[in-house]
Assembly symmetry: C2
Homo-oligomer: 274 residues x 2
């Protein structure tokens, strides 16, 4: 069981920020990543549709054999996490609760902002998760639909990114917060532009980092964590990483390099139907 | 046969610009529109995937009974038109050839620009179509991936739209053209911003208008056109319009109002599988 990889999925590329943090935090773990590029994006789609896609992917990854499933997509975490937990007999971690927990730990003014896709914002999942950790924290939401295409275009810190960030994040001038959760896995790529728009006094919570920490804690608690000590006969062994996509790998690899650099050399096309 | 509606499909909302032009040009025709909102966008997806989606939709609309199919999506027209023509026994019109033909008729400098999604630009379909009408016309392409999310956000003529238009269309300063084809059905919504970036001397070709003209000509030639004269016993009869979507109708109706105004009141959810 311990030797099985960690399964990770996202609607497309965004979850690569989570994959990267997991690989950094847990260098001896293998990972299998699926990007549902035939259906990307999830952020504007309905609960029913996103849940259907998520279940099919979870099934695919389970059949490959994984010890833990990470839902590295905020929209899928918001919509499908409970359903996936019901269906699977391995632990399932989403990106929302770790980010919510870290935000609650960070805020001093008890006022937290959450930015994400339309779906994530509308779902109220961050509201529930933050309130579950501390009911006294007030939560302010802003959907930023242009951030994903900006990140995928590689427009990370130009004038268009700056203007778009000011446009959306101006909301937090009227609703001041001291902590903002990057509630979409693409957003860490736009950290610079977001920081400039919000000001240096606002702490950004990167759900990818928070999720990697949660994954480490859970594996450790369940005694499923692979460590250097165990090396398993192979003294130079570090984790290996496999990538699957549901649409042509070409664009995934090309744009994925904004996220992972040249380590993303290969991705295999799978047909999950639909 | 003449009384059957015209079938129209698109990956999502963009094709509504085509539906609108058809309804304006042919007020006595009924239309059935399908927006494949469970899979939107097509512009970044592969030939195989877009063709699979298109065939399934064509089948659905054919079963409803239509006299003509309009592929109101540039990417699907670029990728799947030949395949659909092979499969269906009714005429199939795409948006690329009408736009290409109108561009060739418009250009005086024999230099035409085409802007569209990554998929449309990469496909070379406009290049082939323009060259087929006049081999002497030079064609210059620029993909503008942020235009679709801008249009769907309703950011049609603000500073972000202006800056983004300048960013992409600066390309035509180095490669001057006198005519630019709006090679994506969303782009007519951004006409103002595009015109400002290109300058008033450049003629914009709206494929939606060009396609509506082509539809009228084809129906007329095939003696399938419904006209006022025929009124069919109902003296006030004008065309009725039905909308289907593959994901939740809510967002389609809400954002679709940027395209059609309040006439878009209803859309029915259908499950095409996948």
């Amino acid at each position: 069981m311990k030797k099985l990889p960690i399964g990770i999925f996202d609607s497309g590329l965004g979850g690569l920020t989570v994959q990267r943090e997991i690989a950094l935090a847990l260098p001896y773990e293998d990972t299998i990543y699926l990007g549902d590029t035939a259906h990307v994006p999830y952020g504007t789609k309905s609960v029913q549709t996103v849940t259907r896609y998520s279940k099919r992917i979870a099934e695919f990854l389970s059949e490959k054999g994984i010890k833990l499933l990470v839902v590295a997509c905020n929209t899928a975490s918001a919509y499908a996490l409970d359903e996936l937990r019901k269906t699977l007999d391995i632990p399932v971690i989403g990106v929302i609760d770790p980010g919510a927990q870290m935000a609650v730990a960070s805020t001093k003014t008890m006022r937290v902002g959450v930015i994400g896709t339309e779906g994530t914002v509308r779902s109220g999942a961050y509201f529930d998760a933050i309130k579950a950790h501390n009911v006294k924290v007030s939560v302010f939401f802003k959907a930023c639909p242009l951030f994903v295409p900006l990140a995928e275009e590689g427009m990370l810190d130009n004038k268009i990114a700056a203007l778009t960030a000011s446009h959306y994040l101006g909301y937090f001038k009227e609703h001041p917060v001291d902590t903002v959760v990057l509630g979409c896995t693409h957003y860490p790529l736009l950290k610079e532009a977001i920081t400039k728009a919000l000001g240096r006094n606002v702490t950004l919570i990167d759900s990818a980092e928070a999720t990697a920490i949660e994954v480490r804690e859970l594996l450790s608690k369940e005694e499923l964590l692979r460590t250097e000590v165990e090396k398993e006969g192979d003294s130079d062994r570090i984790g290996s990483h496999k990538f699957y996509v549901t649409d042509s790998p070409e664009r995934f690899i090309q744009v994925g390099r904004h996220f992972l650099g040249d380590t993303l050399a290969e991705a295999e096309l799978v047909d999950l139907g639909g």
